[in-house]
């Protein structure tokens, strides 16, 4: 009498959801890369470098937003430190990218430029294995999730919740930023990593590489949505939402909230790490600024704007806010933060359920 797993998965989304995802896949996996690679630059249908990179970047942000929605929208755990997991994934992949430069750096040394500059003679022990692509992929997954697991274990075991938890996560990302700012930490100090040349021997700035990274980001985003969707409609997801709404009742019917929170928290951090690893080769730089408290707050704003507890809302939120940001920071650079603040206040006051909530209201009114 057990329903096969694949069938359960198919039932996880309404038909319209699958159609939308198929459409998204066709555009991001086939159409956009093809228009970028095979249509000559002079042609009006050509998709430029700028668009491909910006698109890839925003999709990485969208992955982070979905990961954030899993813990905040469904688990009721507001994290204002998710940037740290994103940055850790980015740094883990950045180490590999630095090693791939080989002797093509400014100092033609085997060591990354910043180490030569600091007069270091050899790689620190924790850089061991960073030249291996496979090991790097493992690190990308393991480092953010391990940090999240340990941090989460102590925080959730002590039953730290709500605003207190949010403040501690802010402190976590701030402390990590200060640590990474130091040259002695061995991650390039305030300059971080940059001047990347290759991935697996292929030129990182080539159109083919850009298209590949773009498509990969889209693929990971879709997988994140699917996994997220499965998690929230499974019994696990219903328990998670129950913990959000009435934690003591959950405990008294025999579930231990610690393990439930810890799992979603760790999965969320891991997704952020993957997003960070995809982000760094596309923007070509990673520095401790990614761990600044303001960055993590911005992630929460994407989710709030799109609509908490909807999965698709955060994708829309991340897209909208970043599209605005791209425009605003060029047109009125000094007003961007004011605008962001106003947006957050406005959404909280008038759109508590975000853009998705607004859409639902419009649709309901149309029917009535």
């Amino acid at each position: 009498m057990r329903t096969p797993f694949t069938l359960r998965f198919l039932a996880a989304m309404p038909r319209s959801g699958w159609i939308a995802m198929g459409l998204f896949a066709a555009i991001t996996l086939v159409l956009m890369p093809a228009l970028h690679l095979f249509v000559p630059e002079s042609h009006p249908l050509h998709v430029s470098n700028y668009v491909i990179t910006l698109g890839g970047k925003i999709m990485c942000y969208a992955i982070v937003a979905v990961a954030m929605d899993l813990v905040w929208g469904y688990g009721g755990i507001l994290s204002l430190g998710h940037g740290v997991f994103f940055a850790l994934g980015g740094y883990a992949f950045g180490m590999y990218l630095m090693r791939e430069i080989g002797t093509d750096g400014s100092y033609q040394s085997h060591l990354p430029d910043f180490m030569v500059f600091l007069d270091w003679k050899e790689l620190p022990w924790y850089w061991a294995g960073s030249d291996s692509f496979l090991l790097t992929l493992l690190l990308v997954l393991a480092v953010p999730s391990l940090v999240a697991y340990v941090f989460g274990y102590f925080a959730f075991r002590s039953r730290i919740k709500g605003v207190y938890f949010a403040i501690i996560t802010q402190a976590l990302t701030f402390a990590a930023m200060l640590l990474f700012f130091r040259n002695e930490t061995g991650f390039g100090g305030n300059n971080g990593f940059t001047d990347f040349k290759r991935i697996l021997g292929y030129d990182i700035t080539s159109p083919e590489m850009r298209a590949t990274l773009f498509a990969l980001s889209a693929l990971v985003l879709m997988l994140t949505l699917l996994v997220g969707r499965y998690l929230v409609i499974s019994k696990f997801g219903r328990i998670l939402a129950a913990i959000r709404d009435a934690e003591s009742r959950v405990m008294f019917i025999g579930y231990n909230p610690l393990h439930y929170k810890l799992l979603i928290w760790t999965v969320s951090a891991m997704l952020c790490g993957i997003a960070g690893a995809l982000y760094v080769p596309q923007v070509g730089i990673i520095n401790p600024g990614e761990m600044s408290p303001a960055n993590s707050i911005e992630i929460a704003i994407w989710v709030a704007v799109g609509g908490r507890g909807t999965l698709i809302g955060p994708v829309i939120g991340a897209g909208l806010v970043n599209a605005f940001k791209s425009y605003f920071t060029v047109a009125f650079p000094e007003y961007w933060l004011f605008f962001l603040g106003a947006l957050f206040v406005g959404v909280t006051l008038w759109l508590p359920e975000g853009v998705v909530g607004l859409w639902k209201r419009i649709k309901a009114r149309g029917k009535a």
Partner: protein
Amino acid sequence: MNSKPVSVEAENQGGEGSAQVVGHVLQPGVDISHKVILYLEDISVSFDGFKALNNLNMTIDAGELRCIIGPNGAGKTTMMDVITGKTRPDSGTCFFGQTLDLTRMTEPEIAHAGIGRKFQKPTIFENHTVFENLELAMKTDKRVWASLFAWLDREGRDKIADTLKLIRLDQEADRQAGLLSHGQKQWLEIGMLLMQEPQLLLLDEPVAGMTDDETERTAELFKSLAGKHSLVVVEHDMAFIEQLGGKVTVLHEGSVLAEGSLAKVQADQRVIEVYLGR
């Protein structure tokens, strides 16, 4: 993890084949071989100097239906907190059956061992449907991995359907629980308790906010549960307690003031002074 609330000694002893000689093997689950399901001995709890419980002694027999009354601040809710692991007593022992020391177990472990609790204010999952509320409460493997891949089978569905009928919410199965009336929420929480299949039910003011008709049906339900389950009911509603007809314990200032049939405690001069007379 909430998987093994019980010691594994049973298996060890069984392996030696000495079970019949010894005559008493530690069984997994609640050991009610002495006909008692709950022991509270010399329990004291104080909050900032205020003694919420003061050398409280009480035993509940297996299958018993016990009512607890007492003025506000007598320690009724604190007592439930101690039994369910929410509050650790400063001193005293609290045993579930012969073997389970409740003062050393966490809330989920205690729930898993077979104690269900209904709160004073109905506490249900307001954003879930009535059906889902019962589903989540259902007795099953409640660890994370099991929940990730759990899928409701026919047997589970039938169980939920039976409970829905029992608590008269079968028409509301797909409604959001937050939209129920107060009385219905009380019933839903009782239903959730039953889905847990606990051996001991702690019910804190279960009929508050119910109509007379609902109260009467609740009394009938509780009476039908006694025997198979043990129930501890905290109530202020004397008519309801009379309907239940079980033994009554009067708490006052954190300890037991009187115990016996409702008629007996109502006739007790001290009880009249501290509680009923007011």
